[in-house]
């Protein structure tokens, strides 16, 4: 029977010719390319920029990269203009702008921006390896947070409570590690704390069908209040006993840790850092290639379909929300066992919400969320580093950049960002 094929072909033809050309991408590329040539090329600082790749006393010493700011600025600007023109031509002939164009464009922009902003600093010399390693470190809690979001939202539960999970995880890790004297106990306590927050979220949003966003926000306020109270009432009274957790040691993997640039990023981490890489890989593989993942995605997209095939929708969601609590709780331990030693009031400072943004920017995909979180970590770290170097751009503006990008991403400018179909909708049988 050939009818199905012909019908399908016709449909593709129909959508192909009926789809109106989108000028969104070429226009954005052109505007950015023009701005980039004005700022990065014409406005380039007249000096060389040094990117250091290794420390002088590292086992393997790489030479520093020294480039001329105007040269890089002009090359990048011209290449960006060329790509924009290519995009315009493609769109005019009715074709789509390929993804690689966008990717190359983004990389060029980043290189030109980095050269320009470092070149404009008082000391145009930056340690690239430090910049990258610092970004990963700052991104760790974001990545755990957004993975927690992936687990929840893919199964159809909106998780606004990431902030609360992180904060409670941080608190529990500090207290448990201080009391027991063991950072690993702290890590486990953090996971339990995350699950506790998740449990409340799951019971109210799944069992009692309360609006998920409201439960999430309430949980964040609750955790903030609770930990704040305990901090001032208990932890501050005797911080020696309650709030001086041992830090997790950095575990260096021999030889591999000596590789320049990527060594410190991949092979010179604490347990939490290694767990992060494992978690991203495991969640990704499981979500797309396991029975659990297939059911999770089905329950988040079309719960009724899953139900008619004998999948218990609400149990699936419940388990996923609890699992998300483990992930976010462990992420929270980063604050008190890795970053600093000790809990501080509201120390997560909105990172949970940024993790939520990373989740959306990463299109509800673990790998996407990972890179989105890295971008946010990079921007934060860059602004830290640049304020030390003394740049003409106020570092607050640099810090804003990733969120501006997120707003555009969520608005659908960089391809379509589509949430799981049933995310936020409770499933009621019948």
């Amino acid at each position: 029977m050939s009818t199905a094929t012909t019908a399908r072909d016709e449909r593709h033809d129909a959508t192909g010719s009926a789809t109106v050309r989108s000028w969104k991408n070429p226009i954005i590329l052109s505007v950015v390319a023009v701005l980039a040539s004005l700022v990065f090329a014409l406005g380039a600082p007249r000096n060389d920029v040094t990117f250091r790749l290794s420390e002088e006393n590292d086992p393997i010493v790489l030479p520093s990269i020294v480039v001329s700011a105007p040269v890089i600025g002009w090359i990048a600007a011209l290449a960006m203009i060329a790509l924009a023109v290519y995009a315009i031509l493609r769109t005019r002939s009715g074709q789509k702008v390929p993804t690689w164009v966008l990717a190359v464009f983004a990389v060029l922009f980043l290189v030109a921006f980095l050269t320009w902003v470092v070149g404009s600093a008082r000391t145009p010399n930056v340690a690239l390896y430090g910049l990258l390693a610092g970004s990963v470190t700052l991104a760790v809690p974001l990545i755990f947070g957004s993975l927690s979001g992936v687990l929840c939202e893919r199964s159809g539960v909106v998780n606004i409570a990431i902030e609360g999970q992180l904060l409670f995880g941080a608190f529990a890790a500090a207290v448990a590690a201080s009391l027991s004297g063991s950072a690993i106990v702290g890590l486990l306590a953090a996971a339990v704390a995350g699950v506790l927050v998740s449990l409340v979220l799951a019971v109210f949003s799944i069992r009692y069908v309360v609006n998920q966003v409201i439960v999430g926000v309430v949980l964040n306020v609750l955790v903030s209040g609770l930990t704040g109270f305990l901090f001032s009432a208990v932890l501050s009274e005797d911080s020696e006993r309650w709030n001086s957790p041992p830090r997790l040691p950095v575990i260096e993997i021999p030889l591999l840790a000596d590789i320049p640039v990527i060594g410190p990023i991949l092979f010179q981490q604490t347990v939490v850092g290694y767990l992060m890489y494992i978690a991203v890989a495991v969640v990704y593989v499981a979500l797309y290639h396991s029975r659990w993942g297939l059911r999770t995605r089905a329950v988040g997209e079309h719960p009724k379909a899953a139900d008619t095939l004998g999948v218990n929708v609400n149990r699936m969601r419940f388990m996923n929300v609890l699992l998300a609590g483990v992930v976010a709780g462990v992420g929270g331990s980063f604050f008190t066992l890795v970053a600093v030693s000790g809990f501080g009031r509201d120390m997560t400072a909105g990172q949970g919400y940024i993790a939520l943004a990373a989740l959306i920017f990463g299109r509800w995909n673990p790998i996407g969320a990972f890179f989105a979180a890295l971008l946010f970590g990079f921007a934060t770290n860059l602004s830290n580093v640049l304020s030390l170097l003394g740049t003409p751009v106020p570092d607050q503006f640099l810090r804003m950049l990733p969120y501006v990008v997120t707003v555009f991403a969520v608005a659908g400018l960089v391809g379509r960002s589509r949430a799981p179909g049933a995310s936020g909708i409770p499933y009621i049988k019948g």
């Binding site: 029977m1 050939s2 009818t3 199905a4 094929t5 019908a7 399908r8 016709e10 449909r11 129909a14 959508t15 009926a18 789809t19 109106v20 989108s22 290639h289 396991s290 029975r291 659990w292 993942g293 297939l294 059911r295 995605r297 089905a298 997209e301 079309h302 009724k304 379909a305 899953a306 139900d307 008619t308 095939l309 004998g310 999948v311 179909g421 049988k429 019948g430």
Partner: protein, 514 residues
């Protein structure tokens, strides 16, 4: 496999959806369940499929009593169901949808989709389905999606297949193909429960017909029984299936549409370059399979769509770009597709719903205040005129039955002089008795000299009402044909063939037969 339902009763609160229903499905048999919308057919099947617990009664499989706690149990017992609204995850591939709930796995719970793909290809080849296991479901035509649903049941070794209103979403050609597939499945020894309210299809494929009315079995019939007999059994009284209407006497053309294009949010043209006219005193029916731009067309006329280009004129005045309220003021009456969501405010009273289009005009409003006495008086008149069955004028509109809700919407729209009347699916989910009434009211409006546009996916309705028929396919006009045209021609046009070709082909076929 032999399937028996004995004395199945299902109550929702005080509502009895199924009242001690008995049904026997023999192996290798197509058993049709015929009944109007709301007769309780779907409820019965959901009980059978384990989605609802029966209040009373039992289910026997091969003479053994069984209880189904959920669809999983029903599937394990060899019952498969193709739901009216497909239970497919749109972003999944065919293989993922088929595997879900019944996954072949490798070590560690990892999916083994290759096994599923092989099974899909086997079944697809056996029945000539032509389904690609790696296609994403949302990209597939509706007819193919339906086959995926059938594959889902067959992969789970279903012996009894329940098809719930399977033809509602299909073109006439796809319907014929489905009926062919059903015959093939039957030849393979599968039993089929075919749920429908379309008499022709039921007569074409059934071995046994059980007729259900208001939750009860009212009789069984032989497929050779005459259509009128089945219809009266289904409705409970004799019905005239044909509407007496005088030939149209079209007057001046007052409504014109030129190059109308509507774009969806994703840029796709859901209505693509339509041009047509409607004269005073004629009914133009817009036919087509659901989702081919009909909804967007009516909404564009009413000013409910963004991204509309082209021109729509009524009495020479442009309507595109004007506010909905201005369009209503210009004399356009509109019965939307989904009365419970768009046609009525369910929590408002019947009386309030009857003045939604005139709430700020005399006599219902005076300055800042409303006039309750005028509203009540209007309600009493309309309820009497349209025979709306409601406890009182102050009852919430949402508590009325579908037919009575539709009467409220119609009564409201006809309550002022119109220059154009548009009705989308005017009788969907309405009992046959009310259908007659509503159809007569629409024809009366035509005879009063109003241009009328009816959008319907039911060919019977289109053929009954239309003076001319416009067929839409993927947002494009396949042509406008006279209301007396044959079903075959309409079927071809609904599948995307332009009017002249369709007329020529239908003519050839007839010529060949003669």
């Amino acid at each position: 496999m032999k399937l028996e339902l004995i004395g199945i009763t299902k109550r929702f609160g005080s509502l009895v959806a199924n009242d001690s229903i008995d049904l026997v499905v023999e192996p290798g048999q197509v058993h049709s369940l015929l009944g109007e919308n709301g007769a309780g057919k779907s409820t019965l099947m959901n009980v059978l499929y384990g989605l609802y617990d029966p209040t009373e009664g039992e289910i026997l499989v091969n003479d053994e009593p069984v209880t189904f706690k959920g669809p999983g149990d029903a599937m394990a017992a060899g019952i498969g169901m193709v739901h009216q609204h497909f239970m497919l995850v749109p972003v999944f591939t065919v293989a993922e949808n088929v595997a879900l709930g019944n996954e072949a796995t490798k070590a560690g719970g990892m999916l083994n989709l290759q096994t599923t793909r092989t099974r899909i290809r086997q079944i697809s080849d056996q029945y000539g389905f032509d389904v690609d296991p790696d296609a994403v479901v949302e990209d597939l035509p509706v007819g193919v999606q339906q086959r995926v649903e059938i594959i889902k049941a067959l992969v789970r070794d279903a012996e009894v297949l329940i098809l719930d209103e399977p033809t509602a979403v299909l073109t006439p050609k796809e319907t014929d193909e489905l009926l062919g597939i059903m015959a093939q499945l039957k030849a393979d020894g599968k039993s089929i429960v075919f749920i429908s309210h379309k008499l022709r299809e039921v007569k074409a494929v059934s071995d046994v017909i059980t007729v259900v009315r208001r939750g009860k079995v009212v009789g069984t019939a032989d497929p050779s029984a005459p259509t009128t007999e089945l219809a009266s059994l289904m409705v409970g009284r004799s019905v005239s299936l044909t509407l007496d209407k005088k030939p149209a006497t079209p007057g001046e053309v007052t409504f014109r549409v030129r190059d109308l294009t509507v774009q969806a949010a994703n840029g796709q043209r859901v209505v693509d370059g339509l041009s047509f006219d409607v004269a005073q005193g004629e009914i133009l029916a817009v036919a087509g399979v659901q989702g081919n731009g009909q909804t967007e067309l009516t909404e564009a006329i009413m000013g409910l769509q963004d991204h509309v280009t082209g021109s729509i004129t009524l009495d020479g005045n442009e309507l595109v770009g004007r506010k909905v309220k201005d369009i209503i003021r210009a004399g356009v009456g509109f019965v939307p597709e989904d009365r419970s969501v768009e046609g009525l405010v369910g929590t408002f009273s019947v009386a309030e719903n009857l003045i939604l289009n005139r709430y700020d005009d005399a006599p219902f409003a005076k300055g800042l205040s409303m006039s309750p006495s005028a509203i009540d008086k209007n309600a009493d008149e309309k309820i009497a005129e349209y025979d709306v069955r409601t406890q009182s004028a102050s009852a919430a509109a949402g508590t009325l039955s579908g037919g009575n809700q539709q009467k409220v919407v119609m009564a409201r729209e006809f309550s002022r002089p119109l220059k154009l009347f548009i009705a989308s699916q005017p009788t969907r989910g309405v009992d046959v008795g009310s259908i007659e009434f509503l159809h007569r009211r629409i024809v009366a409006e035509r005879d009063g000299g109003t241009p009328v546009i009816i959008v319907s996916t039911e060919l019977d309705e289109v053929l009954e009402l239309a003076d001319r028929i416009a067929v839409l396919y993927r947002g494009r006009l396949m042509g406008i044909v006279p209301g007396t045209v044959s079903r075959d021609v309409l079927g071809l046009m609904m599948a995307g063939m332009p009017a002249d070709e369709a007329l020529a082909q239908a003519h050839d076929v007839q010529g060949g037969n003669l």
